[in-house]
C-alpha cells in the first residue's frame, strides 16, 4: 500500500508526459511540472536536459522551493539561446492554461475581448512559438468548467483544429502530447484530435471529471492514473521537493 497523495499522483502523471523523449530539453513551467520533469530524468528518462529554472542547464536534480540550491551547470542557456533551442525543436515544454478548448487551443493572455480585457493575464508569452515549433504539454492544477471551455477567449497555444487549418507543412512540428490536471490526464489521440480522457486519478470518478469540463470529452477506454513507486515517492519527498511546495499547487 502506498500513502501517495493527489499532488504526488500529479507529479508522476507529469513525469509520464516526458517518457520516450530522450535527449531533449524538458522544460516544464510551474512547481509540480518541474518536480515531474526532474522525476522523469531521475528515474526512467535519464538523458533529458533540464534547466535550473533560469539560464543554466543543470546536470543534478535541483530541488524546488529551496533557496540557492546547488546547481551543477552542464551548459549555459540564456534567453536568446533558449529561443534558438526552441526554434531548433529539441524541446518539450509544459505550460499552464487559464482556458483550454476540446482541440487543445490554450489561453493565458487575458479573459474577455483582447482589445479591452476584463482581466489581463500573462499575455501571449511564448505560447504561439512553442506550440508551432515543438512538443507541448499542459498542466492545469484547478480543472473547472471555466478552464475547460468550448471556446477560449484568445488562442495563445495552437490547438489541433487550428494546426489542421494551417496544413501539413506549416503544422509539421505541432504536437500536443498530453494535458494533466488535478483530476485526470488527457490526450488528443482521436481521429479528429478532440480531447480524450486518458486516465483518472485515484479517488476521482469519471463523473467528477465530466462535471469539471465545459465541453464534451471523448470517453472510451481509460485507465486509473498510476501511483508513484516507492522509489519515486522517496525522490519526490526527499530529493526534489523536500519542503512540500507541491502541496500548495494541488490539494487532496
Amino acid at each position: 500500500m502506498t500513502d501517495a497523495t493527489r499532488d504526488e499522483v500529479c507529479v508522476v502523471a507529469v513525469a509520464e508526459c516526458f517518457r520516450g523523449d530522450g535527449e531533449r530539453l524538458c522544460n516544464p513551467i510551474g512547481t509540480i511540472p518541474m518536480i515531474g520533469g526532474r522525476l522523469a530524468r531521475e528515474s526512467f528518462e535519464p538523458d533529458l536536459v533540464m534547466t535550473d529554472g533560469f539560464a543554466m542547464f543543470a546536470a543534478n536534480p535541483v530541488p524546488v522551493g529551496v533557496a540557492d540550491p546547488e546547481v551543477v551547470v552542464e551548459s549555459w542557456n540564456p534567453y536568446p539561446q533558449m529561443f534558438s533551442v526552441l526554434w531548433n525543436g529539441k524541446r518539450h515544454v509544459m505550460m499552464g492554461a487559464s482556458q483550454m478548448d476540446p482541440y487543445g487551443n490554450q489561453n493565458f493572455a487575458c479573459i474577455g475581448d483582447w482589445h479591452r480585457p476584463k482581466a489581463q493575464l500573462l499575455g501571449f508569452r511564448g505560447a504561439p512559438g512553442n506550440t508551432i515549433n515543438h512538443t507541448t504539454s499542459y498542466f492545469i492544477p484547478n480543472q473547472t468548467p471555466k478552464v475547460f471551455v468550448e471556446h477560449v477567449d484568445v488562442v495563445c497555444g495552437v490547438g489541433y483544429d487550428r494546426a489542421a487549418e494551417l496544413g501539413p507543412v506549416s503544422s509539421r512540428f505541432h504536437d500536443i502530447r498530453r494535458v494533466v490536471t488535478n483530476l485526470a490526464t488527457f490526450d488528443f489521440a482521436t481521429p479528429d484530435h478532440r480531447m480524450r480522457l486518458r486516465s483518472v486519478h485515484p479517488g476521482v470518478t469519471v463523473e467528477d471529471v465530466i462535471q469539471a469540463t465545459g465541453f464534451e470529452l471523448v470517453i472510451d477506454d481509460f485507465d486509473e492514473s498510476r501511483l508513484p513507486t516507492d522509489d519515486e515517492l522517496r525522490l519526490i519527498r526527499e530529493v526534489l521537493d523536500p519542503n512540500d511546495s507541491r502541496k500548495a499547487e494541488v490539494r487532496g
Binding site: 539560464a55 529561443f83 500573462l122 501571449f124 508569452r125 487550428r162
Partner: protein
C-alpha cells in the same frame, strides 16, 4: 582614447521627446534600468511607446500616465506573476497594446538591429495573435516547401525600430563598453542596436583596463559602438534584481505592487519615493532598511 560619454539622468531625459518609441532592457523584474525609468517618471514626457520584456518599468510608466502604447511579450514581476499597475492600464483601456510572442519580439528587435524590414518565423501561425493584431502580416517563402510544393507561409515579424533604448549594466567604462556579470544578457544588445540612440546606466563606471578584472571577456557584450550615453547609477536597477551586485528587493516590490489597489496608496508611494531625484529615491529606500 576612449570617448567620455558620461551624462546625468536629467541629460538623458533631455534627449527624449514626447511620442518617442523607447526600448527598455532587462526582463520582467530583472536588471531593469530603473533609475532612468524614474527619471522619465519625474519628467513631463508623455505619449511614449514602450518596448520591453516588461516588468515594473511598464507598470510604473503606465501608472504615471506616460504610456500611449506598450509593446511586450508579457509584463510580470516574476515573484508576482501579473504586474498589477499594467493590468489596470489594460483593463481600463488606458494604453494601446502590441502583445507579442516573446520570440517574435526578439526577431523584431533583431530585424531593426540589422536594418531589415522584417524577419520570418513560424511563431504566431495558427494563434489569435495575427487576428487581434492584423498589422502583423505573413510572407510566403520564395523557396519550395519541404514537400517540394509551394513555399511555406511564415509570419513576417516587423522590425521594432526604437528612437531610444535604455539598458542597465553591472559595469561600464566612460565610452559605453558595457559588462553584464549576471546569468543573462536578455535582449539588451539587440535593444541597443535597434535604437537610434542608446543610453546605458551602470552600477559603476570603471576604467576600460579594469573591465577584464571584473569578469571574463565573454561578459563584454555591449560595445561603445552601440551606446551614446553612460550614466553611473549605483543601485540603479532597484527594486529589480541585478546579480551579482544585489538581488531583487522583494519587500519593496510587494509594497509597490500593493499600491495598485487604490489611487491613494499610489499617490502616497509616489510622494514618498518618486517626488525627488535619484539621490532622493536612494535616500528614501535607505531610510526604510
Amino acid at each position: 582614447m576612449i570617448p567620455d560619454k558620461r551624462m546625468t539622468h536629467d541629460e538623458v531625459v533631455a534627449e527624449l521627446a514626447d511620442g518617442m518609441t523607447i526600448g527598455i532592457g532587462g526582463w520582467a523584474s530583472r536588471r531593469k534600468p530603473m533609475s532612468l525609468v524614474r527619471a522619465i517618471l519625474g519628467s513631463d514626457l508623455k505619449d511614449l511607446t514602450i518596448v520591453s520584456y516588461g516588468g515594473p518599468d511598464i507598470g510604473l510608466l503606465c501608472a504615471a500616465g506616460k504610456v500611449r502604447k506598450a509593446v511586450y511579450g508579457f509584463v510580470s514581476l516574476d515573484t508576482i506573476p501579473l504586474e498589477p499597475h499594467f493590468r489596470i492600464a489594460r483593463q481600463t483601456g488606458a494604453v494601446q497594446a502590441m502583445e507579442l510572442d516573446e520570440g517574435m519580439m526578439l526577431l523584431g528587435l533583431q530585424a531593426a538591429a540589422w536594418r531589415l524590414p522584417f524577419l520570418p518565423t513560424r511563431a504566431g501561425l495558427g494563434s489569435d495573435l495575427l487576428r487581434v493584431m492584423p498589422e502583423i502580416l505573413t510572407v510566403q517563402s520564395p523557396y519550395p516547401g519541404p514537400d517540394g510544393g509551394p513555399g511555406e507561409e511564415l509570419v513576417a515579424m516587423p522590425a521594432l525600430e526604437l528612437d531610444a533604448a535604455l539598458i542597465h549594466m553591472n559595469r561600464a567604462d566612460q565610452g559605453g563598453n558595457g559588462q553584464f556579470l549576471g546569468p543573462d544578457l536578455y535582449m539588451d544588445d539587440l535593444m541597443a542596436m535597434a535604437a537610434t540612440r542608446t543610453f546605458l546606466s551602470t552600477e559603476r563606471v570603471v576604467p576600460t583596463d579594469q573591465l577584464s578584472a571584473e569578469g571574463s571577456f565573454h561578459t563584454l557584450r555591449i560595445s561603445r559602438l552601440m551606446v551614446d550615453g553612460v550614466v553611473e547609477a549605483p543601485n540603479g536597477a532597484h527594486f529589480t534584481e541585478c546579480p551579482p551586485d544585489y538581488g531583487r528587493d522583494e519587500a519593496f516590490q510587494k509594497e509597490y505592487a500593493a499600491t495598485a489597489s487604490s489611487a491613494e496608496l499610489w499617490e502616497a508611494f509616489r510622494q514618498k519615493y518618486l517626488a525627488g531625484d535619484e539621490a532622493d529615491y536612494q535616500r528614501a529606500i535607505g531610510a526604510d532598511r
